[in-house]
Symmetry: C2
Subunit: 439 residues, 2 copies
């Protein structure tokens, strides 16, 4: 029979089991932390009507979407979890309890040019808090604390959550009367760490920003010092623009509440350079970097928006949210060897039958299962070496031998695969191994 | 602004949060049970190259697939989890440990005609055990025990796992010399409970089965009595067909081992009518029905196959597996009100600030979070009635009031929303509520 090559598309992550276990452990931590903070799970379809999904999107998105045409229907794979959320909230408005705290962990699809570290199918882990008409600014302070809790639980360290406010930036642009180029300027500023100051100046000149404004702007965004010093310095500028003043007030409020929530000050970095590319955000913005690996880029970004679902409903639905790009993050954690869990295991015990008399063996197995030990029996005829190799590769900590001697004496022989210690014991003595297994 | 109607495609399940919590609880139970029995997680892409995914598929599948054409590439959304598993095992053969026990819980896509209870996007929860060259028949007996454990843990009762063997059926057809219509006959027999005996006889006549054979066949498949009686009856037929004899031997072996694994005999029903439509299976076959709602059809089916990945590799990879159609099952459980968990909750406590002095409030919140209580603060200005309504709708068991009195006395006031009992306590006394919350 002619064979088809069993290949996986490039840009699609497909892990070997041990890495998949590590991935799932991180995804579980994220999920449990989201739930701890009161976020409700959501699971929207991967496929939506193109008309619904692309209600807002511009040309850039359309180039990247995966589109399906079937008969009359024009369908699209979701490219993020925010548009489906907007649709969901508009559709189910009357059935939801506001503020609506929801999380969603799911795959999204973007047909970007395939290159190393870029994925076309990837997991986003999103939380959003949606208000009905209004939403207290303290929510903006809670978001970084949740992210901090997740990264702590994953065992990541050396991350920093950057904080800024879009009103503050836009107000400052108004003050310099360069607000017409608002989004363009933000995108250029955003690249300082990538392309360097010289190129940033050139790019700003290209869009006709005058030298004076460029100087003021760059000195503004390169504000150094502690977070409090930074806030104090921009307050001391005494800029009278109302949007700017509102932005400063919001930023200071959010920062103070972040401290109240107990976040270590060195995890937060107020940075006037960050703004998120999207025109979507209207207040607080977040980006998260690994201090030792800033080249990875932001691993977790988000912010405050005034109106989640304006393309679907007249209801004002302000919100604040953040998204972890899990597939890319995991890929980088693997590459940089930053995952703590080294030996993920699926089973506690592997029973190796040394006889064909299975009645006693399965009896022991049933007892272990009832006692809630994850247990397998190795039924195949193989060399003992090869069976032990199976256990070692799966990180199973203990093997249990059962042969005729064990059956005659109603015992089991248990061997620790780390210490090679071996003991013949009564099945009821198995409890003493539980602590060791769970460590 | 012109609004787009926020609709969800028909045939795509999208749940409200309380139902989603129930769904997730069942999915978690399935996942945990799979892991308990030593199955490794897999997460293959939703999109594969059409050439890879359709290597085996016939015309029926092609009509139902979701196909994506992007530039030169011809892509397809997976329509099951078995073909991706075959690809995966063939591709990663050298990196896997055999027998390879894997589970996958994921969405699959079939563009079937939309009708009530039929989904175009649905979750399958699959386990398979793949052998390298051979696979012990005891594995076939383990599968129903895992399914039993899942349904037990979900809180389902009154289910029955039907058991048959394809060698036995095919051998019996050979014995009647009607084996040329093998698959057609199996499909007709499979419909007895749906269309009744009369129509089955007519359909068999239509494909030119003679009356004698029809009579023998129907008496064979309608074999009544206990499982042991059924096996004894077909053994007593003394049919000398080798395939039949092998099938009987396998069925008896699997049945005996199922009992050894401790399964209650009334959960297993040997039924010579079931065969699974697919030509894929070569030995044991399973189907699972709810005794009180057989009209739902099989909620969990599978079987033994000789060669998982013959379209991708020359390696013989026999296996046995089973699949739960979770979306459809969940839909029916909701419809028939068969889900035990009535009040799924996301948070243990809702803190209601009765003052604008947030320092103490957030201090209490931080302590509850550190103590691992799932906690929210309600920041918005709303009437107390409306806030309590929020807590009730989210099934939050306790609300905590903090006002100036509580701050002055360094206390909290906690109210049980079931009993309306209210107490002012010290935060350290909160531990006594843990047991109640976890019940």
């Amino acid at each position: 029979m002619k064979k088809v090559e069993p290949r996986t598309l490039s840009g699609f992550m497909e892990l070997l089991p041990n890495d998949q276990l590590k991935f799932n452990k991180i995804a579980d931590t994220i999920r449990q932390t989201f739930e701890k903070f009161g976020f409700l799970p959501l699971d929207t379809p991967v496929i939506e009507a193109s008309e619904v999904l692309l209600a807002k999107a511009g040309g850039e998105t359309e180039k990247q979407i995966y589109q399906i045409k079937r008969g009359d229907s024009d369908l699209t794979l979701r490219f993020d979890l925010t548009v489906p959320l907007a649709k969901y909230v508009a559709k189910n408005y009357g059935f939801l309890n506001f503020p609506f705290r929801r999380y969603q962990i799911g795959k999204v699809y973007r047909g970007e040019r395939a290159q190393k570290g870029r994925f076309r199918e990837f997991y986003q882990c999103d939380i959003d808090i949606i208000g009905d008409g209004e939403l207290n600014l303290i929510n903006d302070a809670e978001i970084p604390c949740i992210i901090n809790s997740i990264f702590n639980n994953i065992g990541l360290s050396d991350y920093v959550i950057k904080l800024n406010n879009r009103k503050l930036i836009t107000g400052y642009f108004e003050h310099l009367t360069i607000e017409n180029n608002n989004v363009k300027i933000m995108r250029i500023i955003d690249k300082i760490s990538k392309i360097g100051m010289g190129d940033v100046i050139n790019e700003l000149k290209k869009i006709n920003i005058d030298s004076n404004s460029i100087n003021e702007l760059l000195s503004f965004v390169n504000n150094n010092g502690s977070n409090e010093e930074k806030i104090n310095k921009i307050k001391a500028l005494e800029i009278e623009n109302p949007l700017f003043k509102k932005g400063v007030k919001e930023l200071e409020f959010v920062y103070n509440y972040i401290k109240l929530f107990g976040l270590n000050d060195d995890i937060i970095d107020i940075d006037f350079k960050i703004s998120r590319g999207l025109d979507y955000y209207t207040g607080t913005v977040y980006e998260t970097f690994l201090k030792n690996n800033p080249e990875i880029g932001s691993i977790c970004s988000g912010g405050r928006y005034d109106n989640l679902a304006e393309f679907y409903t007249d209801k004002p639905l302000p919100g604040v949210g953040i998204s972890i790009g899990l597939t890319r993050l995991f890929d980088k954690l693997l590459e940089y060897d930053l995952i703590k869990e080294e030996k993920p295991k699926i089973s506690d015990f592997l029973i190796i039958p040394m006889t064909d008399n299975y009645e006693y063996i399965i009896n022991i197995y049933n007892k272990l299962i009832i006692k809630n030990f994850n247990t397998q029996i190795f039924y195949e005829k193989r060399s003992l070496k090869s069976i032990i190799n199976y256990a070692v590769k799966l990180n199973i900590p203990y093997i249990i031998f059962i042969g005729d001697d064990e059956i005659n004496n109603q015992k089991i022989t248990i061997k620790n695969l780390s210490t090679y210690e071996q003991k013949t014991i009564d099945i009821e003595e198995i409890e003493r191994y539980r602590k060791d297994i769970n460590e």
